[in-house]
């Protein structure tokens, strides 16, 4: 499950921010990967849509790194 979540999170980031998968580091800050605030917002909306039951918008905005997002979703999936 964890691997699947990680895979999905990376896929969403790659698709929404138009970054190649190999260029996404788990320690990267989401804000640093985003070109601007609209792109960042759209990314969070995409997470919210994909993981409806596990995430809350307000929580997502306080998460900093790719790894934090994966951990957050994992924690709420259990």
């Amino acid at each position: 499950m964890t691997d699947k979540i990680q895979e999905k999170v990376l896929e969403i980031i790659s698709k929404n921010l138009k970054i190649k998968l190999e260029n996404i580091n788990l320690n990267s800050k989401i804000e640093d990967l985003s070109k601007d605030s609209i792109q960042l917002f759209q990314l969070l909306i995409a997470f919210e849509k994909e993981f409806k039951r596990q995430v809350q918008y307000e929580d997502l905005m306080q998460i900093f790194t790719v790894r934090d997002i994966i951990n957050y979703i994992n924690k709420n999936t259990k």
């Binding site: 070109k35 601007d36 605030s37 609209i38 960042l40 917002f41 909306i45 307000e58 905005m61």
Partner: protein
């Protein structure tokens, strides 16, 4: 729109970084991802210059830019530090986009909290617009032709972002909680936060045909 300072990376690229950055700011700069470095520098320069000009005009104090430190105290609400103690309380806001940066400074007592934003006018997809606009805002946009649609959608986004920056909350607060009633002809905008009207001065301007700059001043004692 007054009290804002626009700077482009092109204008400052020949200036030595040491002339406007403190040592610790230079360490922060090194951690900034490469694709954001130009924006970051333009943003710092613009903010420092705004602070410099404010103190020069109002108090005849001429601080060197590399003596003004830009800090990030709260989420999305920067601050600054001077080599001397300040008596007047002020707040600043910074925004950047494609090598352009804009910043503003406001006296808390008279100008309230300030938030500024610069955005490139972009081609929005309908689902993107829907994600940050309320139903009423959306209906205003859908009446427009395509060119205006993108301009106005960018305007809605940018004012919301300026407001969120002014209150120091950034995108932690969902933009749909904010509703704007914009009169485009008279350039008047009313802002409602969870249905409560906010006493704010809202201004905007198109810059170089492709960018939109918005500024929101919220009178603190009226929030």
């Amino acid at each position: 729109m007054e009290n804002k300072n626009i700077k482009s990376f092109k204008e400052i690229k020949k200036i030595s970084i040491k002339k406007y950055l403190l040592e610790k700011e230079f360490s922060d700069y090194k951690k900034v991802p490469d694709f954001k470095k130009k924006d970051w520098l333009a943003g710092r320069f613009s903010a420092k210059e705004a602070v410099h000009n404010y103190f020069l005009e109002n108090f005849q104090k001429d601080f060197k830019l590399n003596k003004i430190e830009i800090l990030r105290k709260e989420i999305n609400k920067p601050a600054y530090k001077l080599p001397i103690k300040q008596t007047v309380k002020t707040n600043i806001s910074i925004s950047h986009c494609e090598g352009l940066a804009v910043s503003a400074i406001a006296e808390n007592k008279t100008d309230g909290l300030v938030g500024i934003d610069i955005e490139k006018i972009r081609n929005f997809k309908l689902k993107e617009i829907k994600s940050f606009l309320t139903g009423q805002e959306l209906s205003q946009i859908l009446k427009q032709n395509l060119e205006n649609k993108n301009k106005i959608a960018t305007l809605f986004w940018s004012i919301k972002e300026s407001y969120l920056k002014a209150i120091g909350r950034g995108l932690v607060y969902h933009p749909k909680f904010i509703e704007l009633k914009i009169n485009l002809e008279d350039k008047i905008c009313e802002l409602y936060d969870k249905n409560k009207k906010i006493q704010a001065k809202i201004e905007w301007q198109i810059f170089k045909k492709r960018y939109l700059i918005t500024k929101v001043n919220i009178l603190k004692n009226k929030i």
